[in-house]
């Protein structure tokens, strides 16, 4: 069984239910058992991270214990806006972001990295890819959050 860390939860930001199901199923198949939360657009993601609006009273993990899987094209607020906000906001600045995209558009990829995403994945995502993703994330997370990686030590 692979785990990011025991403490880490996954926040999936995806408007398309089909895409969301595919990601969730493959996380499951990859054996990732960390808690998973799903929201349907960028605004909801921000609400989640800031524990406001619909998430004001919810029992949810803090941004310090999150990995975000982020779709680009979404209604209300798109993925770019989310990265911009996350990277500019003190409480969420270090949140690992994995972009999910439908097309390998170079400009799209460049833009996401410029805005500060950590990794990039093309949909549909297969569980084998997710496994390697988790390993990469581990590598990213290790130096960033030494105490959080403690679960594996």
């Amino acid at each position: 069984m692979t785990k990011v860390t025991d403490e880490v939860s996954v926040l999936l930001v995806e408007d398309d239910d089909g895409h969301a199901d595919l990601v969730m199923w493959n996380l499951e198949k990859a054996g990732i058992q960390n808690p998973l939360y799903r929201v349907k657009n960028g605004q909801q993601a921000l609400n989640f991270l800031l524990k406001q609006e619909e998430f004001m009273d919810a029992e949810i993990p803090s941004p310090d214990n999150l990995v975000m899987l982020l779709d680009i094209n979404m209604p209300v607020m798109d993925g770019y806006e989310v990265i911009k906000f996350v990277r500019s906001h003190e409480g969420t600045r270090l949140l690992p972001i994995v972009m999910l995209t439908t097309a390998e558009d170079k400009r799209e990829v460049t833009k996401c990295y410029e805005l500060g995403c950590n990794l990039f994945m093309k949909k549909p995502i297969e569980h084998s890819e997710l496994t390697s993703l988790i390993q990469q994330l581990g590598a990213i997370l290790a130096p960033m959050r030494v105490p959080l990686a403690g679960g594996q030590s």
């Binding site: 398309d16 089909g18 895409h19 595919l22 439908t102 097309a103 558009d105 949909k123 549909p124 995502i125």
Partner: protein, 635 residues
């Protein structure tokens, strides 16, 4: 009145006689020449003009009569008046002899000074009158205008050279005696002729334009002035053929300018820097039509009345600069009609200079390009919309495609997962149902999945290409000098595997370098080479040749193959999006390549075309404009 001195010749062999006579005649109005022999006198008469010769009769060697005879024999001296001076021959006989020879008078010695003086002065006066009338005749003769006098019978009595020439005769004598009809041709206009004579009868004069008849029958236009005088009708005729032709030409040009579809405006050359600028001198009908200002409203105003708040200052300055330098200018302005409507004005302004190089007017040809401009803008907008549309649709199509792809995989995996359950479940079925279920498991489901996947893949690659095409259209190219030989080599290296595998021989000539977008050029040449390889004929060894040449405005590259060729009736399809030519089911590609190339070449002010023969091969040519170089050097 100022008078020339008049020459008088005195001939006498006796010096004292000459001196005496000279003293008698002494007068500031006279030049008195003296000759002491007949021979000398004759020589002097040839070089000088005399009012009278006072000729001594009794001279040795050649006497006065002999001199007179010789004078009469010569054309130059024939009409020179002679007055014999004699002391001896007082007899009538001699006198008669003298008159016969042509003397006009006799003076007898001893001379009475008053008589001599008054006689000579008569001849001097006569000479002067003759000179005067000769001069007047000269004036008439040398006139450029034709001059003639018609007598009562309406025949020419006197004509000048100009008229003789004008009417195509050789000498005055040929024309004299001819009828008036030569200058007032009644066959041309009988009513006018009647009118002319009626007016001549009433007021004694007529002036106007008529047609004269030449000897060869041809007619030509003249301006004529006819005056009744006591000597007859004096006609002064001026040939106006050239003026008429020029007028005709002028009328023609005027009509062209007036009725041209473009606006024509003529302005004064000055003042360029004054607040209102040069004034309008002329506008044509198109100007009235487009601007709404009538000629009367426009003339005297300045072209500034057409300008408004959106008229670009830098364009106006460009005109101003050209005007100051006396040069041409070509600009596009946003102008305003009388009613305040905007219109785009393509304006070319040209200085009209006189022979000294000074600007006399500025003429400008202006064209209302509003509809073209609007159309251009519409096309641009439509293109933009189309690109955006293509981008959005192809982008939006990807989301469901991703679902299809993903869930196909899920289904496949789920089917695998279910296999043991199905296997064990099958045994509980009836034989018939089991067969059906097996068929569903082994054929229907896998086939359905296969076709869904294939369809998805196809859709995926098409939307991918569409996306790329719309991106190509929106991409900004940057032009730089590129090493074409190296680019082509790199491109061929990329295709090396295919080339080796199919054993194709590739020849690359020395290629001219060019200014272009390097990425785009690589895409273009790569695509054309790829095409050449794809469409080779498997029945014979493939040969591909890459060439290039520099032409005046473009550099042209070509790729020639010995492939299967394109049938004539399918040639046009080569360049359409999503088309592939001929029996090419097994050839990979979506038929989008050429569409990309076309878009890219459009941005290089170039194009792509091909020549092909079935079973012989195809040559694809593409051109890249040299204009890009200029754009670059401007930056």
């Amino acid at each position: 009145m100022w008078l020339d001195k008049v020459n008088v010749l005195l001939v006498d062999d006796h010096e004292p006689n000459l001196i005496a006579l000279e003293q008698v005649l002494e007068n500031p109005e006279l030049n008195i020449h003296k000759a002491s022999s007949g021979q000398e006198a004759l020589e002097m008469m040839l070089t000088n003009e005399y009012a009278i010769v006072l000729l001594d009769v009794n001279m040795p060697e050649m006497d006065g009569f002999e001199v007179a005879k010789l004078m009469k024999a010569r054309k130059e001296t024939r009409n020179l008046p002679i007055s014999f001076v004699t002391a001896i021959n007082k007899e009538k006989k001699y006198a008669i002899q003298g008159y016969e020879i042509g003397a006009v008078d006799y003076l007898y010695k001893p001379l009475e000074p008053e008589v001599v003086k008054s006689k000579v002065s008569v001849f001097v006066e006569l000479f002067r009158l003759r000179k005067q009338s000769e001069n007047r005749l000269n004036v008439i003769q040398s006139s450029m205008d034709g001059i003639a006098i018609l007598n009562e019978d309406m025949r020419f009595v006197s004509v000048n050279d100009a008229l003789v020439n004008m009417l195509g005769y050789k000498e005055e004598i040929d024309l004299e005696g001819e009828l008036y009809e030569l200058i007032v041709d009644p066959s041309k206009d009988i009513e006018l002729t009647k009118e002319i004579f009626k007016q001549l009868g009433n007021s004694g004069r007529w002036k106007g334009e008529i047609y004269c008849k030449r000897r060869d029958g041809g007619a030509f236009p003249v301006s004529a002035s006819l005056n009744q005088s006591s000597n007859g009708i004096i006609c002064i005729i001026r040939d106006i053929t050239e003026r008429k032709a020029a007028e005709e030409q002028m009328r023609m040009l005027q009509s062209v300018v007036e009725n041209a579809n473009d606006m024509v405006v003529v302005t004064d050359p000055m003042p360029i820097n004054a607040p209102d600028g040069p004034k309008i001198r002329y506008v044509n009908a198109a100007f009235e039509r487009v601007t709404g200002y009538s000629k009367e409203e426009a003339i005297g105003q300045t072209p500034r009345m057409l300008q408004g708040k959106k008229t670009a200052r830098e364009q106006l300055n460009k005109i101003k600069q050209a005007l100051i330098e006396g040069k041409e200018a070509h600009v596009e302005l946003l102008n305003y009609t009388k009613n305040g409507y905007e219109y785009y004005n393509d304006l070319r302004i040209v200085p009209v200079k006189n022979s000294r190089g000074e600007v006399q007017y500025f003429t400008s040809i202006q064209r209302d390009t509003t509809s073209r401009k609007t159309m251009e803008q519409d096309i641009k907008r439509a293109n933009k919309e189309l690109e955006t549309f293509t981008y959005i649709t192809s982008h939006d199509m990807r989301s469901p495609l991703v679902s299809l792809k993903g869930f196909c995989g899920e289904l496949e995996e789920a089917l695998d997962t279910l296999q043991p359950a199905i296997e064990s479940g099958l045994s509980s079925l009836s034989e018939q149902d089991m067969a059906k279920a097996q068929r569903a498991r082994d054929l229907y489901i896998p086939s359905a999945l296969k076709y869904i996947k294939l369809g998805t893949q196809k859709l995926d690659s098409v939307t991918g290409l569409l996306l790329e095409l719309s991106r190509t259209g929106r991409r900004d190219l940057s032009f730089e000098a590129i090493d074409v030989n190296q680019l082509v080599r790199a491109s061929l290296d990329g295709l090396g595997h295919q080339i080796k595998q199919s054993d194709i021989s590739v020849t690359v000539d020395e290629l001219p370098d060019v200014v272009a977008d390097p990425g785009a050029f690589a895409q273009i040449i790569g695509n054309v080479l790829d095409n050449a390889i794809k469409y080779l004929d498997p029945k014979r060894p493939g040969e591909i040749r890459v060439q290039g040449k520099v032409e005046q405005a473009h550099t042209i590259y070509s790729v020639t193959d010995n492939g299967r060729g394109i049938p004539k009736n399918q040639m046009h399809k080569v360049f359409e999006v999503f088309r592939r030519v001929g029996d090419v089911e097994h050839i990979a590609g979506e038929g989008m390549g050429i569409a990309f190339i076309k878009t890219l070449l459009n941005k290089h002010h170039g194009r792509i075309w091909c020549e092909s023969e079935v079973d012989v091969g195809t040559t694809f040519f593409f051109s890249i404009s040299h204009h890009l170089e200029q754009q670059m050097s401007v930056q």
